[in-house]
């Protein structure tokens, strides 16, 4: 087992979820999304985001609109579609289940006597 690979695998699944979660309230520009992700240390480089966004858009989870920018080319603002919203809801649920399951297992291991 390769540690880096495992870490990356874990992040990968979470990353897509995080993007949808960030977009759940209002539409965002890519660098806004990256800002939040960087703050929470999920990813470090921006380039990673573009393929993911394009793929989610093509899957019908996201849509975008163009907005003129004062400091460069027009920007793509992404937002959730209806499909994306229900997708996110599903992910929310399974994430909660997952966290619960993982913490349950970890608590058991760390403090087996307490559980009894």
């Amino acid at each position: 087992m390769n540690l880096d690979n495992t870490k990356a695998q874990m992040k990968k699944g979470v990353l897509e979820y995080c993007i949808l979660a960030i977009l759940s309230e209002n539409s965002r520009y890519t660098s806004d999304i990256i800002q939040e992700l960087k703050e929470s240390k999920v990813i470090v480089v921006e380039g990673t985001l573009y393929p993911l966004l394009t793929r989610q858009k093509n899957a019908g989870l996201l849509s975008y609109r163009w907005e003129e920018s004062t400091q460069g080319p027009p920007r793509k603002y992404y937002e959730l579609t209806d499909k994306g919203k229900s997708f996110l809801k599903e992910l929310d649920n399974s994430w909660n289940d997952l966290v619960k399951a993982v913490s349950l297992i970890r608590n058991k291991k760390q403090t087996p006597e307490k559980q009894k």
Partner: protein
């Protein structure tokens, strides 16, 4: 002072330092090689380009108008290296896996002498490139084939420019395990797609175990097929290479190897042969057209083989199209020339001259060949021989020779006659007659001796238009002929009462009787032994 370059990035014009430009270009190339092959690749790349433009734009101030290498490095820090983008995402992108898993053949121009072909091959095979250099030099000595091969490979194999390509160039070795692994990965995605399709159409997934077994068998078959394809590729390369070699030597050099012996063409030289049939300018045209018409498919064969054996991305669409157009043109050219040449054969004519042989001291006529007559030099000739009709080309004088046919008939008159019949084809009847008349054939009478040339010939510079010369001796009943041994050269199925073969008739006297030519002094009817 630094040179700046003007670029358009995401619709915005930037002035950029030369070194910064090179750096940025490498970055974008790496992006392209990473995403370019994906369906959504263009969109991803243009999004990233827009973002890069935005980042660079923020670096520009009134006192600093030009993008320098530091700006590019800062931008890279924000965007990250393309190699880092995709961490742990291999499974989602089968195509990029395919490119990553194996080695690809590139030209390595970093440490090269010429185009980096040998270096690239060396890296691909994990062999010191010196061996390939030696190989090409040795092949160069074989009629320059090495040079041709080198140039072909130079054009076809792409140069390793970006970091990604350089990594690919040194990637994993091609082994059976690697092939198997990449095949398995391909299968995985096929399976996933298939499952997606099943889901969407409401299929049940109850037969996974069974389908797994099938996938297992499937991947074994695919590995097997890939190995077979490689072998076929090697066969293609070898066949194509040697045929090309034979072909080149046929065209450019006056003797050849690799041509089968039975064709009796030891001295075969294609341009000489063409020169027999057509004029000088056409020879060059036909040579070029012929070379392309046969050479291009051979190169395509070699190329196909190389593609089956090695893995490389080649710029083959344009080259392929050009090659195909050239090939088509050459074939059309050949057909047109043949059609025009064919006109020169459309009519045929015979010219007959009859000579009376008189003044014989006796009834016996002696027949022999003029040993000093003009003939193609034995060891410096090229010839094609079909049945009795031969074309001989004396290569030192470029004269075309042919063998006449000599026959004896029973004469109607009291006088011996020699009929010389010349034939030829031509574009019109008139020119056919002209061509026939121009054929040179000499014979002479010395008392009772008839001396024949062993060959007729075309006047210098004339083309071959199916010429032929027939000699008929009309021998009255009671007259006798004697064949010298040398006459076998031109005797052609002479009828006689004992059905003796031509080569058994020589050295003897033959008398014309009412029922045909009979051996002189032979009792009639012939003795049965």
């Amino acid at each position: 002072m630094k040179k700046t370059i003007k670029i358009n990035l995401g619709g915005i014009i930037f002035h950029i330092d030369e070194d910064a430009y090179a750096n940025l270009k490498e970055y974008l190339n790496a992006l392209t090689s990473k995403f370019g092959h994906l369906e959504e690749g263009d969109e991803i790349i243009s999004d990233i380009e827009s973002r890069i433009a935005e980042i660079l734009q923020s670096e520009i101030k009134d006192e600093k108008q030009v993008i320098n290498i530091q700006d590019i490095e800062n931008m890279k820090k924000i965007m990250g290296e393309p190699e880092d983008y995709y961490e742990g995402e291999q499974e989602e992108e089968p195509v990029s896996v395919k490119y990553k898993a194996g080695k690809r053949l590139y030209r390595d121009q970093d440490n090269s002498i010429l185009g980096g072909v040998c270096n690239g091959l060396g890296i691909y095979f994990d062999v010191d490139p010196i061996w390939f250099r030696v190989l090409f030099v040795v092949l160069f000595l074989v009629y320059g084939t090495g040079l041709l091969m080198y140039i072909i490979l130079w054009v076809l194999i792409p140069k390793a420019e970006t970091t990604a390509q350089k990594l690919e160039m040194r990637g994993e070795n091609i082994t059976v395990q690697n092939i198997e692994r990449s095949v398995k990965k391909e299968y995985q995605t096929v399976k996933e797609n298939f499952n997606k399709m099943k889901d969407s159409k409401g299929y049940h997934r109850s037969r996974d175990a069974v389908s797994d077994v099938f996938h297992g068998i499937g991947s074994v078959i695919v590995v097997f097929l890939k190995i077979i394809l490689m072998i076929i590729g090697i066969v293609f390369i070898i066949t194509g290479f040697f045929t090309l070699l034979a072909f080149i030597s046929l065209f450019l050099f006056k003797h050849t190897f690799f041509l089968p012996d039975f064709m009796d063409m030891d001295y075969f030289y294609f341009p000489d042969m063409l020169g027999i049939f057509t004029h000088g300018n056409n020879v060059i045209f036909i040579m070029i057209a012929f070379f392309l018409a046969i050479g291009i498919p051979l190169l395509a064969l070699i190329y196909g083989g190389i593609k089956l054996v090695f893995r490389f991305k080649a710029r083959d669409k344009v080259i392929g199209l050009i090659a195909f157009v050239l090939w088509l043109l050459s074939v059309i050219c050949l057909f047109t020339i043949s059609a025009f040449e064919g006109i020169n054969f459309s009519e045929d004519a015979r010219v007959k001259n009859t000579f009376q042989i008189t003044g014989l001291p006796s009834d016996t006529l002696y027949l022999k060949i003029n040993e000093f007559s003009k003939k193609p030099v034995e060891f410096d000739k090229f010839y094609i021989e079909i049945e009795n009709v031969g074309i001989y080309l004396d290569k030192s004088t470029n004269e075309v020779f042919g063998k006449p046919e000599f026959d004896i008939r029973k004469g109607d008159s009291e006088i011996i006659e020699l009929e010389v019949q010349k034939r030829s084809n031509g574009s019109t009847y008139r020119s056919a007659v002209e061509n026939a008349k121009n054929l040179i054939y000499n014979w002479e009478q010395k008392d009772s001796l008839l001396i024949f040339d062993s060959y007729y010939r075309l006047p210098g510079g004339e083309q071959w238009r199916i010429p032929h010369v027939k000699l008929k001796l009309n021998l009255p009943v009671g007259k006798v002929v004697y064949f010298d041994d040398s006459m076998t050269k031109i005797m052609y199925n002479i009828n006689n009462t004992s059905n003796t073969y031509d080569y058994d008739m020589v050295g003897k006297k033959w008398i014309m009787q009412n029922d045909g030519l009979t051996q002189f002094g032979f009792s009639y009817p012939p003795v049965n032994e």
